[in-house]
């Protein structure tokens, strides 16, 4: 593919990526949000984080099958405990990485 081919493809991809990120923000930030919508939206961050994490920790992503013996799950539980105790983002990321690294070396 040449330069104009790539440019056209990425412009279109950028457009369909940008519009869903932009329209709700533009529209909802200038409207008075009803209480039920604020309540519902308050659950969205937890729901999205949990939905993103579940397959990473509980499934084999190449075969797309259930696997509850992944080392990632064990690390996640230790990391979760650390996060609950310390409430430190940097510390949690660091502990997770170290555990993942060590587990990769020894197993």
């Amino acid at each position: 593919m040449n330069f104009s081919g790539y440019l056209l493809l990425f412009l279109l991809m950028g457009l369909v990526t940008f519009v869903p990120r932009w329209l709700p923000l533009l529209y909802l930030s200038h409207k008075h949000l009803p209480q039920w919508l604020t309540d519902w939206l308050s659950f969205i961050p937890v729901a999205i984080l949990s939905s993103l994490l579940a397959p990473i920790l509980l499934a084999d992503t190449t075969t797309r099958s259930l696997n509850i013996t992944k080392p990632e799950l064990l690390i996640a539980l230790s990391t979760l405990l650390f996060a609950l105790k310390t409430k430190s983002l940097g510390g949690t990321v660091f502990v997770g990485m170290i555990l993942h690294w060590l587990l990769g070396i020894f197993f």
Binding site: F10, L25, L28, L41, P55
Partner: protein, 219 residues
């Protein structure tokens, strides 16, 4: 500036990996730079590289991108709560940088109170800069870096776990987290594609919302 480092650290290996794949698929470094600047969406860019390598048409790549990135509409809606009555130009610029990671980090900070829209924008733009840099670097030198070095692959899951903990402010949020994990894994196993993120998030949030209302009415 310091707030963005978990994202930057997490984007780095992912960006390198994308660069290596793109290079193998025959994309020149400037095309990868162009893509990271114009699109800035990790999973969609991976899919694009795979599809380009398999000779897919532009239209199928663009449609797939739209479907994969629709989940950001949900995040954009949730962010609107903290960006009420903000200048439209600011919102337009800010919207460009909404990713799974910047959303999660900014929401946690907004919620704790010691945050403002300019800091949120700095997080978005730093993440973007690291993303562009690491994807281009990946096309140039990626082959020489050992896989899984220093456990860096766990930076993003680690960050998600901690941000999840920050959000658990009451028993209803714990319930939402458990419901979402359960629905997400089922959806992921049964339905191909990436719809499990939007599907599980909307279902879990709606269920928790209804349960909370039911409990409040009974009291």
């Amino acid at each position: 500036m310091a707030a963005a480092w978990p994202i930057c650290l997490g984007y780095f290996p992912v960006g390198l990996a994308l660069g290596v794949l793109a290079n193998q698929a025959g994309l020149p470094w400037w095309a990868v730079a162009l893509m990271s600047i114009l699109v800035f969406a990790g999973s969609a860019q991976f899919i694009c590289v795979v599809l380009l390598a398999s000779g897919a048409t532009i239209w199928s790549i663009v449609t797939t991108t739209l479907v994969v990135n629709l989940r950001h509409a949900l995040m954009s809606s949730a962010l609107a709560i903290y960006l009420q009555k903000t200048n439209r130009w600011f919102l337009t610029f800010f919207a460009y940088g909404i990713t799974d990671e910047s959303f999660a980090l900014n929401m946690a900070r907004f919620r704790s109170g010691d945050w403002d829209r300019w800091r949120a924008l700095v997080v978005n733009q730093l993440a973007n800069a690291v993303w562009i840099f690491s994807t281009v670097l990946g096309t140039l030198v990626g082959q020489f870096i050992p896989k899984g070095a220093f456990g860096i692959d766990y930076a993003l899951p680690g960050m998600f776990i901690c941000l999840l903990v920050f959000q658990l402010q009451s028993r209803f949020f714990i319930l939402t987290g458990i419901l979402a994990a359960f629905i997400s894994i089922l959806w992921y196993l049964l339905i191909p594609g990436d719809s499990y993120i939007i599907g599980a998030s909307i279902s879990a949030a709606t269920l928790s919302f209804l349960i909370k209302r039911y409990v409040r009415r009974k009291q």
